[in-house]
Symmetry: C2
Subunit: 581 residues, 2 copies
């Protein structure tokens, strides 16, 4: 999708191209989308702040400047940036070893984490190092997201059950049954039911009531804010606080002030790895969301500009005391469905959230925490991606295993451990496959110039000419296997006098491979067998050109197997000695 001129976004592809070429016709769509998105993300942002172990207003603060920053730098016309479930979880688990949740130090570290990952993303974008993220394979990303979603869901269970924390063992479960607050559980289950109903059936039911499909879908998406408003009203009117239902508590009115703190360098040093991890996940997730959205609208995105935009968004979040932000999938989909044309929709959403912060925000103090937990639970359920696991497993057992192990690693070893395990496994899988090369003895398809595997096709061969096609790069992990396969083939074809290695599928030979080939050629020569090559690729030949092997040991190098067969097949050398005696 990248850099494709036919698929440009509306307007110029450069910075702020959408603004310089803004058309009035886009405005109504952007206004509607801004309104809908802001209403949708208010409960979400508060919930993800709670997930991150922060006061809920921090989630709202993190929903202001990032939207403006993304509008300035971003290349996607649809991506909506703000607090998301995964950055919330990562903030909580990465900071947990460094400071006590709820403390002032914790709050400061969360802000520094956002600032630091903002700097990293921006720097990586300026240095055009975004390609480094390519080393995360899809099974690793998918496994990470699924594992993180499960981890998030588990973290919300205490809020749902009205317990301070999850018990450690089954006995404690029984003992702690009593402390569960049935009011909390009741509210939680009803809210869960409402949100799942809203996601699955509400849209259809609204359509049956005569609403146009687009409007019905949009209204169904706003179920969380309806829940929030209802819960606040309910709590105030029934005085649920008296029944021990935990609520948000105080929530200051007004816009955030700018964050300022003298940097504590030792704390910042301990944040380097967490910030790098959160940057990696933010980038990979946001760009893949932006790409899939751009494809829907036949637009394109620029990965390096996304890095700059995500960096600026995180800096913006940190500057107003917010935490790490990323592009979110559901909020971006709502953004598109509500008719957004440009990032102006995001700027409008920011303005609306600002107004809400200045006016009615303190009312959210009466919101039961269980409502936020339910919103989180419903949001992360679809992230557990069993379909990907099934597909990966069916396509390739090793990749299915990598996906599963990454998810299990996130659950059992933590986020860093899970990602590290996943990366190691995908690299090991790659090496493992390379170490078991497919090697075919080939022959000519009668009457053609095509050569095929003798085991899969009916082909012609010459008894004194053994033609082997090596279907893998020749490198340290497979030199022994290739050597072994060649000697096996020589046992199967004992009259061989000429060996032809067809290198059409060999894109690289490393020095271990070269040493093996050289020793092989020498020991074939001892047995009066010559080694020839065919279809050596240009870049491989460029490397081999100056080696003693190709200049002194190898027989002939043929441009095609066809020519090699015609040359070597017709002539049979007299044996220079009889090795069998």
């Amino acid at each position: 999708m990248i850099d494709n001129p036919r698929l440009q976004p509306p307007g110029d592809p450069g910075l702020l191209g959408w603004l310089r070429h803004y058309r009035l016709a886009w405005l109504s769509g952007d206004l509607t989308a801004g309104l809908v998105v802001s209403v949708m993300i208010i409960p979400q942002s508060m919930a993800y702040a709670m997930l991150a172990g922060l006061p809920v207003q921090i989630g709202l603060y993190a929903s202001l400047l990032p939207l403006l920053a993304y509008a300035l730098f971003g290349s996607s016309m649809s991506l909506s940036v703000g607090p998301v479930a995964v950055t919330g979880l990562m903030t909580a688990t990465l900071l947990a070893p460094l400071a006590a949740i709820g403390s002032g130090a914790y709050l400061q570290l969360a802000v520094w984490l956002a600032l630091l990952s903002g700097v990293m993303l921006f720097a990586v974008g300026l240095l055009r190092l975004g390609f480094l993220a390519n080393f995360l394979s899809h099974p690793v990303i998918s496994g990470f997201i699924s594992g993180a979603a499960i981890l998030i869901a588990i973290s919300q269970l205490p809020h749902l059950l009205g317990m301070p924390a999850l018990p450690d063992n089954p006995q404690q479960w029984l003992d702690d049954w009593q402390p569960m607050n049935s009011w909390v559980l009741g509210i939680g289950l009803v809210s869960l039911g409402w949100l799942f109903y809203a996601r699955s059936l509400l849209g259809t039911h609204l359509q049956r009531l005569g609403l146009p499909p687009v409007l019905a879908t949009l209204l169904a998406r706003l179920a969380p804010i309806v829940l929030v408003v209802a819960a606040v009203v309910f709590t105030l009117s029934l005085d649920l606080n008296a029944y021990g239902v935990p609520v948000v508590g105080t929530l200051p009115a007004g816009l955030p002030s700018f964050f300022w703190a003298t940097p504590d360098w030792s704390a910042i040093r301990s944040l380097l790895l967490p910030a790098a991890l959160i940057s990696l996940v933010t980038f990979v997730e946001s760009v893949s969301i932006a790409q899939s959205l751009a494809r829907r609208k036949r637009q394109s995105i620029d990965a390096d500009r996304e890095l700059l935009a995500l960096g600026a968004a995180n800096l913006g979040s940190g500057l107003t005391g917010g935490f790490a932000v990323a592009g979110g999938f559901s909020r971006s989909v709502v953004n598109i469905e509500a008719g957004s044309n440009t990032p102006l929709a995001g700027v409008i959403a920011m303005l609306i959230i600002g107004v809400i912060l200045l006016t009615i925000a303190p009312l959210f103090a009466h919101l039961p925490l269980v409502i936020l937990a339910v919103i989180i639970l419903v949001a992360v359920t679809p992230l557990v991606d069993l379909a990907s696991l099934r597909r990966a497993w069916r396509y390739d057992r090793a990749e299915g295993l990598t996906l599963f192990s990454t998810a299990a690693g996130v659950l059992l070893l933590g986020i860093e451990g899970g990602i590290a395990l996943g990366i190691c496994l995908s690299i090991a899988g790659q090496l493992w496959r390379g170490s078991r090369p497919h090697i075919a003895v080939v022959g000519r398809v009668p009457g053609t110039q095509d050569f095929r595997n003798t085991k899969r096709h009916l082909v012609e061969t010459e008894p004194h000419l053994l033609a082997l096609r090596i279907d893998e790069n020749i490198f340290f992990a497979n030199t022994k296997a290739i050597e072994h396969a060649l000697y096996q083939a020589l046992r199967d074809y004992p009259d061989t006098r000429e060996v032809l290695l067809i290198l059409s599928a060999v894109n690289h030979i490393d020095s271990t491979g070269l040493d093996m080939l050289s020793e092989l050629t020498e020991s074939l020569a001892d047995r009066d067998i010559r080694l020839h090559l065919a279809e050596v690729k240009g870049p491989v030949m460029d490397h081999l050109e100056e080696t003693d092997w190709i200049n002194e040991q190898v027989g002939e190098v043929f441009p095609s197997t066809h020519i090699a067969f015609n040359t070597l097949g017709s002539q049979k050398r007299p044996a220079s000695s009889d090795l069998e005696t």
Copy 2:
């Protein structure tokens, strides 16, 4: 070389085949070789024991049972097994953090290390897991050996200079000049001169004196024992002890007793990683020596039996209180040159060393340590392999860098750090190359069925047909690069209506690659461009067969590029829409 029936060792390839089919004609060669090798390895074994931080007699103890064990299990007719420089160094550096050199605990740990690595090697042989060693590339092995040789040489400098240890900084060098013992330095330099002369010129000079070439070479190889005898006589007659020349000290007469100690499990657990490392190096080095020797004699070796034999040899060494052993290059070469035909030569060497232990061994107590240091220095000098570094660097910068970094890593980070760094770098290099695939737009060589890179050859193309050959497996590290290259090619050939991906050099497509191809096909379809495949390899097709991509999205799959060109080149589809508006 492995498993090759034409190149069998004399006799049956099975266990003890050489003994069951022993011919009397081989006996004189084996006797001579046994005598020559035993005389050669006595000073060497004592020297390597000193290098390992052990009493010199331990080196002689480690030269007994291993020779018998290897004769029972080994598959090489020439490999000579015993204390070698690298296992000596590894014993010293791996045990240094665990116990004080010279203490009883240290001695016990050295024995446990040999036993443990014996068990590991034997088990890996039984489980046929020897292929794991294939993941050590030649640059890593070569860099490790060079780094270890330099480390060994540095460790011997104090002995050569007559100082207790090397000073830490230049100022200390000046201050410590006085404590250097000029007697020691003098003896050292004369001995060094003698051994280097023996290695370079003595053989030729002996030939000039009328000796036959083979005998002259053999005698020159015995220069170390001449040096040892001369040094003992010299020390005794001049009473060098009085001048502060350190000597071996006490050396008990008699054969070693069997080792027995209650295992200290916590100590053994701390030896697991060192034992694994020493096993890995022992196996890789010994097998590569055995293979190169077997090639000289047109014999073959069996890697799994080598594992059993090396395991048994280390168990044998440990059982009599010896330290870790491996196949040695110089002792094996002398073994061949002296005429050995079978491992009986090793058994004879063992008997001779046993006799020496029972008789004149105590005389070695008067041997100055500087003599052993000189023997070590001269032995390891050729291991610093600058030629390999030059060759690797010329062939591929990345591999030269891996070799150099491994050597530097061994020197600066230690043995474990150096090997780990080398393995990481060779894997990273492999991924890095895979992430930058060569992708060629190809056309037909006029009048043939061959297709070549448009940039390297003069070929025919069709304006509406873009044929791309992807010269690399499609996997997570290069999906973005391949996608990018394809869009770049579409910009260069704007009239493209059909894209043909030629997969003749693609041996594997992972699920990340499959996802990319599927998204690519979809977005090409949006632009009314169809994607086709040609020359898909059998194993790749086996994987793709059940995917939605190949069944629903891809146009046609052609067996050859030739057929694809004939089919797609002749027909031009009418455009179904005009995307330019």
